[in-house]
């Protein structure tokens, strides 16, 4: 077989995969190895494939993804810490023809914003909630989160989370699945190509269900935080498989009944 030169490989007709145009051309603010960038990409690929850029309004939280609007080429609002589901509620009710999603971390969604999360889910708002769970407050420097595992170390539980003193990690995803207002509750990861594809399919399904007025579609992505966990990206993914997945098992928790 003849040698293929670099020039031939990068010819447009040989292109098999490229970054979606809906991701803005600028460097992400996330640490190398973090899952946020991959979820951003899956999200924007879904919006591009569904051709709903002009119909989509996203909400950025407070946390590592506070600047998500810098990277996603759609109209976005930045919410106060934990309040994204309240914003989404109003947007969707005032503009029911739009796709509305929130993008939130564990501190935002499962600690300070618990009330907004539970009530938006319970009312059955026709929105998508994308929940990135890495068991730590990444942006503020690695403090204990509502989802920090028992024994797991963080800057505010430097000897490991002692559940007798600090309480238990909150499985908010299982909790919202019990509410009548959620139609689709599922948990995924983006640490292998197969999992990335599953996450993308889940995001697409969530967008389709929210548009069909089925209630809240809730997609959790268990993710690593190699900086906060003080590991290399590879180590952190292994640690996530061995420790996070047993506590936060991947897969569908609630699927819509036909």
């Amino acid at each position: 077989m003849a040698e293929i030169t670099r020039e031939e490989i990068i010819k447009p007709e040989n292109l098999v995969y490229k970054k979606t145009d809906l991701l803005v051309d600028r460097a992400l603010s996330y640490c190398p190895g973090c899952g946020h960038g991959t979820v951003h990409r899956m999200l924007m690929e879904v919006i591009e494939e569904m051709d709903i850029q002009s119909q989509t309004i996203g909400i950025a939280p407070v946390g590592c993804s506070v600047l998500a609007y810098e990277f996603l080429d759609i109209d976005m609002q930045q919410a106060a810490h934990g309040r994204a589901p309240a914003l989404a509620t109003a947007i969707k009710r005032l503009m029911p023809e739009k796709y509305v999603f929130t993008y939130q971390g564990d501190g935002d969604l499962a600690a300070i914003g618990t009330a907004e999360t539970i009530h938006a889910c319970n009312r059955g708002e026709n929105i998508v909630i994308i929940f990135i769970n890495n068991g730590i407050y990444g942006m503020t420097g690695g403090q204990m989160a509502p989802t920090t595992l028992p024994g797991m170390k963080a800057s505010t539980c430097p000897y490991g989370r002692d559940t007798q003193i600090m309480g238990n990690p909150l499985k908010i995803t299982e909790l919202v699945a019990t509410l009548p207002g959620t139609c689709y509750v599922t948990r995924h990861s983006v640490h292998t190509p197969a999992n990335v594809r599953k996450t993308k399919r889940a995001i697409r399904k969530a967008f389709e269900l929210s548009y069909a007025n089925k209630g809240v579609s809730f997609v959790e992505v268990v993710s690593n935080c190699n900086s906060g966990w003080k590991m290399t990206p590879v180590q952190s993914n292994k640690w996530m498989e061995e420790n996070m997945f047993p506590y936060y098992p991947l897969g569908d928790i609630k699927v819509p009944t036909v």
Partner: protein
Amino acid sequence: MKELRLMKGNEAIAEAAIRAGADGYFGYPITPQSEILEYLMVQKPYETTGMVVLQAESEVAAINMVYGGASCGKKCWTSSSSPGISLKQEGISYMAGAELPALIVNVVRGGPGLGTIQPSQSDYFQATKGGGHGDYRLLVLAPASVQEMADFVPLAFELAFKYRNPAMILTDGVIGQMMEKVELQEFVPRWTQEEINKISPWATTGKTRDRERNIITSLDLDSNKQERHVLSLERKYKAMEDNEVRFEKIQCDDAEYLLVAFGSSARICQKAVDLARAKGIKVGLLRPITLFPFPKIPLYKLAHQVKGMLTVEMNLGQMVEDVRLAVNGKVKVEHFGRYGGIIPNPEEVVNILETKIIGA
């Protein structure tokens, strides 16, 4: 067409919002303003004008729903009373920072804390000096009648959109609960999407190919940019001070003494002016209608005419600080207040005027 009705102040606000073409109301029950949400749920504007009405899980959620709706260029509003308004301060600060137009109604009750459900004016500082964190101002309107409760709703929306800034109607349990004749304005249709795109091109309505994406945020991590943003807010507040001061002067032309009062206290002072004049004391009343921007210049001018001023407020002396700043030592300014839900009566106002100002 215009319509005459006998209504409670709270009901008048709710009806006026429907007629003003409001798009969404988000609230949480609290005395003495629960009639607003109750009235709206009876009227069901979502079936007529299309206005969304939603009882939120908290005041915090309600103000953030207003943030979400306002970010889409919609006319959104919420109402509460003092403890609930404290909870909304985070959201109000974010809206001021993100420059979002909206209406917030505070039907004030006495505080601090849970305080009382009876009327008070003790949220003056909170309303006019910011309230939440950071450098910002609200446009603050203080109605003194049920008619003004209705009239100030479209006015507040107009000013809020003119300046891209939250506006507050600061009223109290007296005006909220009392019934008066009110002339209601004609129904104004809600803005169409085309109108919203024209009026608020910054709104998040879905990015189309013909424009850049719209982002609503109060965050800027670049200190230079954040400073420029705060300075642009300052220019806006200055423009409000230049253009939007509203006040009413009652019997001020020949006044030797001046009462200064807003809202329900101004109603009481109107009677006090009559009582004092019957005794031969030449008293006038200046009623600030906008509490921010404050009528500094009219007060400064009157300071050159009168021998003394008395502010009458249902608080420990809040607006009196702004009056003293306005007159800048030119004339004596004293304060008279009642607290905890007690409403001053006109006789005691005249009595205090005689002892604290005239006889002093």
